[in-house]
Assembly symmetry: C2
Homo-oligomer: 333 residues x 2
């Protein structure tokens, strides 16, 4: 059943049918009704491919993230998908993994689908200060389609970034730890992404501003898995600390498990702060103080910007949101 069939059955030309489909005002209400009726009776659906071919758009946006099984990204995708469809866009999901080679093919592959916009979720796509060329493939992509980064930033034409001010959030969290009397705060992270680097900067600045020295040995990296984090801490007898600032909730829970194994009372003997306000933070015991990194806010910013951009309006290339601390049982301020 195509536009010709409908036109014939309704006794009009295909142009008129097309106008009805697109709700053009230049059709009399009468014929509109008639054509609509025929379309419904035959439940006709315009062929998106033909339409895409003509308009060079199928109203889809590409959502790319390293791993949709990660809670933070899943929540972002949930939010984006929900709102995008309210604007008439469907989502093509592409999980790129963390490997740079895979990412090249990922971007290449998703661009073939002629998406209207690409959103990159998670700071692992962000620019590495040292070698900007590592991210050239994204600038290349931006020549074809507007690129939106969630919690990451790349300088470039047609690239728009929304990020949580992780520096500020980390600074605040660590400062509170210090003000509550803690003196040896461990920095626990799983990556050297842009976001993780900002958190590290915030951590260091907080120590400095409190007149404390920054020790690199107090910055520990481990995969974002509860058991891995716990085991690492258990094995590092050289480390002395009375607080942990973790860049991911999973790591913080690992620290919690470590404390339990060591018979340390939380927060009496040791304070712990996580990051992302995920479900993990209320699942563990005691419940985790954690930084809310404003995922929903960033998503909203991205959607709003995208809709403007797709109408060829000027938009800001970089927007920040401030994180805030959620105080629960693993800290005692």
């Amino acid at each position: 059943m195509n536009i010709y069939d409908i036109a014939e059955l309704a006794g009009v030309s295909i142009a008129t049918v097309s106008r009805v489909v697109n709700d053009s005002p230049m059709v009399s209400e009468k014929t509109k009704q008639r054509v609509r009726k025929v379309m419904e009776e035959n439940d006709y659906t315009p062929n998106v491919f033909a339409r895409g071919l003509g308009l060079n758009s199928m109203k889809t946006v590409g959502l790319m993230c390293p791993d949709i099984a990660d809670a933070y990204m899943a929540r972002a995708v949930a939010y984006l998908e929900q709102n995008l469809k309210e604007h008439g866009y469907n989502c093509i999901l592409y999980c790129s993994g963390y490997d740079i080679e895979e990412r090249h093919v990922a971007v290449h592959s998703i661009l073939q689908k002629r998406i209207d916009a690409l959103v990159l979720i998670g700071s692992s796509y962000a620019e590495d200060d040292e070698n900007s060329e590592k991210v050239e493939y994204i600038r290349e992509a931006a020549k074809q389609v507007p690129v939106f980064m969630m919690n990451g930033c790349i300088q470039g034409e047609n690239i728009y970034c929304a990020l949580c001010n992780d520096f500020q959030a980390a600074y605040m969290a660590v400062t509170e730890l210090l003000q509550s009397g803690r003196e040896e705060v461990l920095f626990l992270s799983d990556s050297h992404s842009y976001s993780a680097t900002q958190k590290l900067r915030g951590y260091k600045q907080a120590l400095k501003d409190a007149g404390l020295s920054v020790k690199d040995s107090m910055c520990v990296y481990v995969e974002n898995k509860i058991d891995k984090a716990r085991d690492l801490l258990l094995s590092r007898n050289d480390l002395m600390f009375d607080a942990v600032f973790a860049t991911e909730d999973g790591l913080a829970v690992g620290a919690l498990k470590y404390a339990k194994k060591r018979n340390l009372s939380v927060p009496r003997d040791i304070s712990i702060i996580g990051y992302n306000n995920s479900e993990l933070s209320v699942c563990c015991d005691p419940e985790l103080s954690t930084v809310d990194s404003r995922g929903d806010r960033l998503c909203k910013i991205i959607i709003d910007s995208m809709m403007l951009r797709l109408k060829n309006r000027e938009i800001r290339s970089k927007v920040y949101a401030n994180g805030f601390l959620i105080r629960r049982e693993t800290t005692d301020f």
Copy 2:
């Protein structure tokens, strides 16, 4: 840059270019090389819309789930997306919510995209024994495109189901509880989906086979949120139980929080079993015994079936996988 440009630059006809793109054997190696070179030099990418129009397929499959922020579904999507792209398919993600009206528009909307197959993730799409017509919209969809159900089942032409044998898994889990000496097992669930119903059946059968009476008052329903589950149990002083079988890990964690609040020792005073083997189950303290519902297995079955089906091969319309119990600290067998 389109096929005409390439043809001209390579000094061949568009038919030949098309053949090269599709790696047809009926082109001499020499011209193939030449055309390929021109394509690369101009980094030419065939227009998927035009291609879709001709072939009536854009090599995409629709992934539909109620909520991608749910860990079980996110894992399923991760697995499916990963494997589908290895077979050359991209994924359109659509989160339908739980409401039936939304689902109608969801299916309608995703079908417009002319996907090659549709996979429905989660048992909430499954057939309700009483009113089969509630699910008619899915049978209708199956007339246009093969439908694959993950952990749900609908009878019908062109509908293929892969499910965890939740009856068996629940029966086994509850039986172990009983054999370890527990006498009052609470059934804690969040829905009346097909899957939840099977779990309930397994629970009841286990009680019966152990010579115990089934009390409806021991089947409690609450939203799958840790705090909701905890608070409900705290408020129900009429309930007496020494074990909880929960149909979701989140509910089981809620039960754990309840026990803690009541100063009940787990598993000494009360045993708890969750379901799905999610990250929550290792996050809480003590760690949760839980049923592995074979999400990965089901996904693999779906992918394999789909690839056969898309080649018009006969495939089974219903495949089961058996769940198994992961014993951790909340039970003491």
